[in-house]
Symmetry: C2
Subunit: 346 residues, 2 copies
Amino acid sequence: SRSLNLAVIPGDGIGQEVVAEGLKVLSAVLPQDVKLETKEFDFGARRYHATGETLTDADLDALKAHDAILLGAIGDPSVPSGVLERGFLLKLRFAFDHHVNLRPSKLLPGVATPLAGQPEIDFVVVREGTEGPYTGNGGTIRKGTEHEVATEVSVNTAYGVERVVRDAFARAQARPRKKLALIHKNNVLTFAGHLWTNVFNKVAEEFPEVTTEYMHVDAATIYLVTQPERFDVIVTDNLFGDIITDLAAAVSGGIGVAASGNINPSGDFPSMFEPVHGSAPDIAGQGKADPTATVLSVALLLRHLGYETEAARIEDAVSTDLGERGDLPARSTSEIGDALAVRVAG
Amino acid sequence: SRSLNLAVIPGDGIGQEVVAEGLKVLSAVLPQDVKLETKEFDFGARRYHATGETLTDADLDALKAHDAILLGAIGDPSVPSGVLERGFLLKLRFAFDHHVNLRPSKLLPGVATPLAGQPEIDFVVVREGTEGPYTGNGGTIRKGTEHEVATEVSVNTAYGVERVVRDAFARAQARPRKKLALIHKNNVLTFAGHLWTNVFNKVAEEFPEVTTEYMHVDAATIYLVTQPERFDVIVTDNLFGDIITDLAAAVSGGIGVAASGNINPSGDFPSMFEPVHGSAPDIAGQGKADPTATVLSVALLLRHLGYETEAARIEDAVSTDLGERGDLPARSTSEIGDALAVRVAG
Ligand SMILES: CC(C)[C@H](C(=O)O)[C@@H](O)C(=O)O
Ligand SMILES: CC(C)[C@H](C(=O)O)[C@@H](O)C(=O)O
C-alpha cells in the first residue's frame, strides 16, 4: 500500500480555516490504498511571538522528511513587515530550492472577473523562485539619516535561469497551444535581461514546436487586462512573477481561487503548495474565507506527486462548484469544503 | 512679450506624426503674446545608425537651453534592445535629474476600458525617475557561459526618495480627496522598502490633512483592476512605477491617451514631456496613431510652465473629443489633431 506523508502548516489568520478544508478534500479524494499521514507545524506569528523563531535548522530537517508541504498563510500585522516573509516564507523557498513557482490562471465558467466581456483565460506562470531581487542581497548605510543609501541586488545565474526556463518550455510543449512568453525588462535591466533573453533563445532551439515571444513586464500588464487569452505559458523572474501573478489572479476570478506550487522538480526537497492569498487577519476565524485556492493547491500537490486523476477530479469539482455559485446563498468556509469533499468522493 | 522656447524630439516610428499634432494644438492654444520658438532634434534610430551616437554632451548642452522638451517616441527594432533606452531616454532623465515622473490616469467619459462597469478613475502616479533599479548599476561575469552571473543593483537614497515623496504629498494636498498611497514591496525588498517607508512616514507628519496608505506592488495591481477609484495620488519607485503606470493606462483608456512628464521641479534643467506609448513601428507613417497622448503631454508641459488655463483648455478639448468618438468614423492622426486644434482655439 502507498503512503502520502504530508507536512501541514496552517499558519496565521485564515490559514487555519482554509487548510482544514484542503485536508478534508484531500482525504475525500485519495484512493483507499493510500495511507495519508499528516504532521502539523506551528510556524507563523504565534510561534514567533512565543519563541522569536521563524524557521530553524531543526524545523527544516523535520519538514524535509515529508513528501510535500501544504501551507495556509503566514503573516500578521503584529509582526514587523519582512520578518515572517524573509524569516519563514522566503527562507523555506530558498532552503528547499523551490525554483519553479507555479501559478496557473484559469477563468472558470460562471466566475466573476473585473474584465468586461468574460475573456477566455487559461495560462500558467512559471515564476523563478530562488534568484532575482528576492535573494536578500543588498544593504543600508547611514540608516535613518538624510544620507541613507539602501541597495537591493538582483542576482541572476545561468544555472538558475536555465533550469526554470527549461521547465517552462517543457510545460508549454505539453499543452495544446504550445506557446511560451518570456516576460522581463531587458531594455532597462540589461545585465539580467540579456542573460534571461539569451538563455531563453538557446533553450528554445531544443523545443522547435513551441512558439515563443518576448514581452516587457510593463507591456505584459496591459496584455493581461486587454488580451489575457493570448497567454499560454509565461516564464519570468521572481519579482516580475510576483507582480503579474497577483494581476493574473485578479482577472481570473480573484485571489480567492488562485493556487500555487513552490516546486523543486529534482525531488531533493519536498515541494510546498499554498494559496496565493495571504492570512487576511480582518476576516480570520469567522468562517468567511474561501478555501477554494487551498483546495486547488492540493490539486497541484497531488499532480506533483503523480496523482493526476485525483488532481483532475478536484479541479473538476471546483469548476462545477464555482459555476453553480451564482444561484446559491453565500456559504461558510467549511460548507464550501464539505461541498467539494462530497463532489470529489462521488 | 513672453516666449516659449521648446526643444522638439519627434524620434522614431509614430513619434514624428504625433509630435506634429502636439505642436499644432500647442500653437492653437498659446496666447497671442507668447512667442513660440521650436528647435527640432534628430535623436533616435536614424541618428544612431548614421553616427553611432545616441545623446552626446553637446546634445545635452543644446537641449539645456530650452524651457521644456517635447518628445514623441524613441525606439526601433533595428536597434538592439537597451541601446536607445539606456543611451537616450534614461540618459536624458538622469542627466537632467528628472526625478518626478508624473503620470496621470483619468478615465474620461465615453472612453472604452477593459474593466467591466465603467469605474471612476482619476489618479496620478508620481514615479521616482532617477534611482531604483534604473541606475544601470550591476554587471555580468562569465558572460555567455553556463557560469554566467548577472546582477542589477537598485540604488535608493534618502535624498532621492524624500524629494519625490515630498512632491507627491504636495500634489495630494492640492487635490480634493487628499489621499496618497505608497506602493513598494517592503516585505521582501527590506533595505529599500524600509527607507521608502520611513521617509514616507516622516514626511507624512508635515501633511496632516493627507490620508495615507501603504500597499505592496503585487496587491496594487489587484486594486488597479478591482477598485481603481480608490486611488488619488500614488508615489512609488522607478520600476514599480513603470509597471503600474502601464497597467493604469490600460484600464483608463489605453496608452493611446496616456501622457507623462519627466519633471525636474527645481528648474535647473528643462523638463521633458512625452506620451507613455512607444514608437509603434508597425503602424508608423500610416496616419493611424492617436496623437491624444502627445496632446495631453503638451497640456502637462503647459501646466509645468505656468500656463494653467491653456493646459485645462487642452484637457477639456480632449475630454469632449473622446466623448464624441463613439459616434464618429475612425479619423487619421492629423484629423484628430485638427479637431483638437479647432476646439482649443475656439
Ligand atoms: C508574502 C511574499 C513574501 C510573497 C512573495 O512576494 O513572493 C507573496 O507575495 C507571494 O506572491 O507568494
Ligand atoms: C522605454 C523605457 C526605457 C521606459 C521605462 O522603462 O521607463 C518606458 O517603459 C516608460 O515607461 O517610459
